[in-house]
Each structure stands twice: as structure tokens, then as C-alpha cells.
């Protein structure tokens, strides 16, 4: 098997932190893989898996450059390339989002993840919180959820597996090759989510 390349979408947000988390996962899994920032449509062809980082989804979705990359990205996702979206990244992957206060945001999203997002579902920055979560698929030990002006999933389609809930809200989902989290696993100091993602990328690479 040739070397795996994981991309981190490099427009806005905690790009370097996700690169560091992927690196940590690679080291711990002793995988033959590298990670790099990707920004251009042609980059989408060179990677075996993609992380969409946290940040401000309004900004990420409004950038014309990202819109130009969406067709290439959608094609890769439908071919089975694994993607992990954290916070704003999950919003980008969803089919629709609305804001708790402002209402429908009219954002242009990638739309492959069959969920509806409630943005800022837990409130503003003062309501940002840390809490221990149960996340299925990564082992029994709890995962530290870091929620920063976090969204939640208000509706999930029939093919969507709910992998974590908190306070009655859906906070992590998996739909085939797509994982979305409302929290920031890249800030948790625990690489298990990124390791699970890396495993999906390895399986995908093997199958090709």
C-alpha cells in the first residue's frame, strides 16, 4: 500500500491544530501517512482523506474559493473518501443550517451529510463548555468534549448513525464515510477520534 495523504482544508479556523491532531494519530497508530493543508480544487485529487476544521462556518461557506472546490470535493466524498468535520466543518458538510437567534442562514453548504444543523445551539461564547462524552466506536473511556459556540444536530436522516449525545442534543454523527462532531476533538488532547478517522482512511486506501 502506498503512503496515505490526509488533507486539512486550509481556508480558515484551527487548521494547524487539526494537522497536529492528525500527526498525533499517525504517530500513535504507527501509520505510513502524512498530513498537509489543502486549499485548491486540484488538491482534492491528491488526498485519501479530508478534515474540515473548526472556525466560523459563515466565513468558510462564503469564500468563493471554497465554493470552487465543492464539486471536486463532492465527487471524492461520493467515491467513498473519508471526511471528518469538526464544529464548523460539520456545518459545512450538512445539508442545511439555521441559527438559534437569527434563523435560516442561507449558507451554501457541501450537503452530503443528511443532517440539519442548529448553529450556536448551546448559546454564545460564555456558554461554551467542556464535558465528558460517551462516543460510540472509540472505546468505553469517556471523551472530553470541547464545545465552543457549538452547533447541534436537530434532525438526522435515516442513514445517519448518532454516535454521541449531550444534554438531549445530538453532538456527533457518522454516515458511511463521513464523521461530524459538534465539539473539537482536535483540542481535547485525546487523538482517538482522529485515530478512528485515520483507520477509515487506511481501509478506504486498501479498497482502491
Amino acid at each position: 500500500m502506498s503512503k496515505i495523504t490526509i488533507g486539512v482544508l486550509g481556508f480558515q479556523g484551527d487548521i494547524e491544530e487539526n494537522i497536529a491532531a492528525v500527526k498525533q494519530a499517525i504517530e500513535q497508530s504507527k501509520a505510513d501517512a502524512t498530513v498537509q493543508m489543502v486549499k485548491y480544487p486540484q488538491d482534492m485529487e491528491k488526498i485519501d482523506g479530508l478534515v474540515l476544521p473548526g472556525g466560523e462556518s459563515t466565513v468558510q461557506s462564503s469564500l468563493a474559493a471554497i465554493q470552487q472546490s465543492i464539486p471536486a470535493l463532492k465527487k471524492r466524498i461520493s467515491d467513498g473518501m473519508p471526511v471528518l468535520g469538526t464544529c464548523a466543518g460539520m456545518i459545512m458538510l450538512s445539508k442545511r443550517s439555521f441559527d438559534r437567534v437569527v434563523g435560516d442562514t442561507g449558507q451554501k453548504l457541501i450537503g452530503d451529510l443528511d443532517i440539519v444543523i442548529e448553529r450556536n445551539a448551546f448559546g454564545r461564547q460564555n456558554d461554551s463548555f467542556e464535558a465528558d462524552l460517551e462516543v460510540s466506536g472509540i472505546g468505553k473511556e469517556k471523551f472530553r468534549g470541547v464545545f465552543i459556540r457549538a452547533p447541534a444536530v436537530s434532525e438526522a436522516g435515516k442513514d445517519v448513525e448518532v454516535i454521541s449525545r449531550y444534554g438531549g442534543k445530538i453532538v456527533a454523527v457518522k454516515q458511511g464515510n463521513i464523521i461530524g462532531t459538534a465539539f473539537h476533538p482536535e483540542l481535547a488532547g485525546d487523538a482517538r477520534m482522529h485515530k478512528q478517522f485515520l483507520k477509515m482512511v487506511q481501509d478506504y486506501k486498501k479498497s482502491r
Binding site: G55, A65, V102, V146
Partner: protein
């Protein structure tokens, strides 16, 4: 950890624990700043400007009563913005809202915290309320950003609880020179302590800590990281897309744009152009495209920073 938690106050009163959740931790406050990275924070004074900024791709808006250029022109005492304006903007846009309070003015900051702004800027653009000390920011659940001209000032602010730093320029002048000077200053000082760290010269690191009036721990962490332990944006005088790209390429994590956008004659177009240049700062063709979107004849004319009556950057630097 992928972000540094150095200098956290274990008894920070801004940390709120209830049942199984905790709010106001260093991780959440610095983490918020990390989400702003590679973005542009724009100064706004009205709901209409906030909407233009959001539409253009601002990562957050900073609410002020007057833009720095107008603060400079008006003279007198500059204070925090009207709460009504802040609340109206909070209801109008989905991106984070920041607001400025005066240096040392703990109660302006408390008012902003209960109003619910996402970040407080303890800012030299407003008239300082305490010449001796800054706000003790560990008492707050809301994260703070502070200005700094050099490494010592930046690290002192982080030890007081700042979750983010902006290297100071000279606000309201349209001249990027001062911002460039200060980011270079910070970079050079970090390079110096990093070389001591690589040589394992603890005595020189201790000497640097004493000179900067900060703890040894934060100097060592900064030297190990080779950068500030918190997110660092550039601010002051950014007017054109190329200005933003320049500061990004000098190692800033993002930019604040004050008067440069809404004191120009093409604010909506310019706002989009500055965002584009910030995102693609390392791609000269994209920066050229961004630069094409603005007309230099419509830029804020700007001021000579050498002959100013009021040098905002010097406020609060000795504390």
C-alpha cells in the same frame, strides 16, 4: 494538547463549574481565539456595517462607538460602545461579537460580559481608566484580547488572563508601518529566547523573564513553541488587501481591520478583498486579484505616524 495552556490561573474565578460541565476554562477561552485564525475581524459602529462585514466574510465584528480615525479626530474621552448598539448587532449577525472596554476598567468589562459579547478587547483605542494596571482577566468567563508592542507586554497580558494578543499598530492612521515594526519586534525577541532554549541556556531565559517582568515558565514555553503561546493577530493601520497579506506573511494568525474598511469609499468591496488576501496571503496572484477589487483612490488617505499628537500604542505599555 494542540494548544498551550501555560500560565493558567488554577484559582481563576471566571471558571464556572456546574454538574458535569465547566465553562470559562483557559482551553475554552484560548480555543475561541483559535477558531478565529486566518480570519479578519472588522471594526463596526452600526448594524448595517456589521451586516456588510458578515456578508464579506469577517470572522467576527468589533463594536465601537466611533472608528479609531474618528476617535482621533473627536478627541476627548473614548469609552465603550452603547449597549443598545451592541445588542442590536448581536441580534443581527451570526458571527461572534467583540467589544472594546477601557484599559483597567473592570466594570465596563463586567457590563460587556453580562451583555453576552463573545470576546472583550481591553483596548488602547479607548482612553485608559487605570494607568497602573490592566484588568485581572482570570476573573472573567468571557475571553479577552489585548494589544502589545513587544514580547514582554504580550506575555504580561497573557499572565493576566488574555486569551489572545494583537500586536499594536497605530490605530486610525491608515498606515501599516507601526504594526509591521511591532510584529517584527515580537518575532525577533522570540527568536532570541528560542536560541537560548535550543542551547539549553536556562540562565539567559531567566534573565529574559526578569527583564520582561514575567514568569520563567511562560518564557520557557514561548521559547519552546517558537511563537506566542496564544493566538496573535495584527492590528492598526491595515488599509489594503496587500497590507493584510504582508502581516499574515510576517507570521500573524489573522488581522483586525479598523478604520481601513469603513473609512474607505468602497467598504463592501474592500472588506471582501481583505478577506481574500488574508486567506491566500501566500499566493501573490490571489493577493493581486484581491488588490484589483479595490481602488487606491478610495483608500483612507492616512496620517503620518511620526507627527501624531496622540500615540495610542503607548497607552498601558509600562503596566
Amino acid at each position: 494538547m494542540t494548544i498551550s495552556l501555560v500560565a493558567s490561573d488554577p484559582e481563576a474565578r471566571g471558571v464556572k463549574t456546574d454538574n458535569l460541565t465547566v465553562r470559562g476554562t483557559t482551553l475554552l477561552k484560548r480555543g475561541f481565539a483559535h477558531m478565529q485564525k486566518h480570519g479578519v475581524v472588522m471594526d463596526v459602529t452600526t448594524v448595517e456595517q456589521a451586516r456588510i462585514a458578515e456578508e464579506a466574510g469577517a470572522v467576527a465584528v468589533m463594536v465601537l462607538d466611533k472608528l479609531p480615525y474618528d476617535v482621533r479626530k473627536a478627541g476627548g474621552v473614548a469609552r465603550t460602545a452603547s449597549i443598545k448598539v451592541i445588542e442590536d448587532i448581536m441580534d443581527a449577525v451570526t458571527i461572534p461579537i467583540m467589544a472594546k472596554c477601557r484599559i483597567g476598567h473592570t466594570d465596563e468589562a463586567r457590563v460587556l460580559q453580562v451583555t453576552g459579547v463573545d470576546m472583550i478587547d481591553e483596548s488602547e483605542v479607548l482612553t485608559p481608566a487605570d494607568e497602573e494596571r490592566h484588568i485581572w482577566k482570570w476573573d472573567f468567563t468571557t475571553p479577552f484580547v489585548n494589544g502589545a508592542k513587544n514580547l514582554g507586554e504580550a506575555l504580561r497580558r497573557v499572565e493576566e488572563g488574555a486569551a489572545m494578543i494583537r500586536t499594536k499598530g497605530e490605530p486610525g492612521t491608515g498606515n501599516v508601518a507601526e504594526a509591521v515594526t511591532h510584529i517584527r519586534m515580537v518575532n525577533n525577541e522570540i527568536r532570541r529566547i528560542r536560541s537560548h532554549y535550543q542551547d539549553n541556556d536556562r540562565q539567559e531565559l531567566m534573565k529574559a523573564a526578569r527583564e520582561m517582568k514575567v514568569s520563567y515558565a511562560i518564557v520557557e514555553e514561548t521559547a519552546r513553541l517558537g511563537r506566542l503561546p496564544v493566538v496573535n493577530f495584527a492590528a492598526g493601520g491595515i488599509t489594503t488587501p496587500a497590507d493584510a497579506a504582508f502581516l499574515m506573511n510576517l507570521g500573524c494568525d489573522g488581522v483586525f481591520v479598523g478604520s481601513g474598511i469603513f473609512k474607505s469609499e468602497d467598504p463592501a468591496q474592500r472588506a471582501r478583498a481583505v478577506v481574500l488576501a488574508t486567506t491566500f496571503h501566500d499566493d501573490a496572484k490571489m493577493v493581486r486579484d484581491a488588490q484589483k477589487m479595490v481602488d487606491e483612490r478610495k483608500s483612507l488617505l492616512g496620517l503620518d505616524t511620526k507627527n501624531l499628537e496622540l500615540r495610542m500604542q503607548e497607552r498601558g505599555q509600562s503596566a
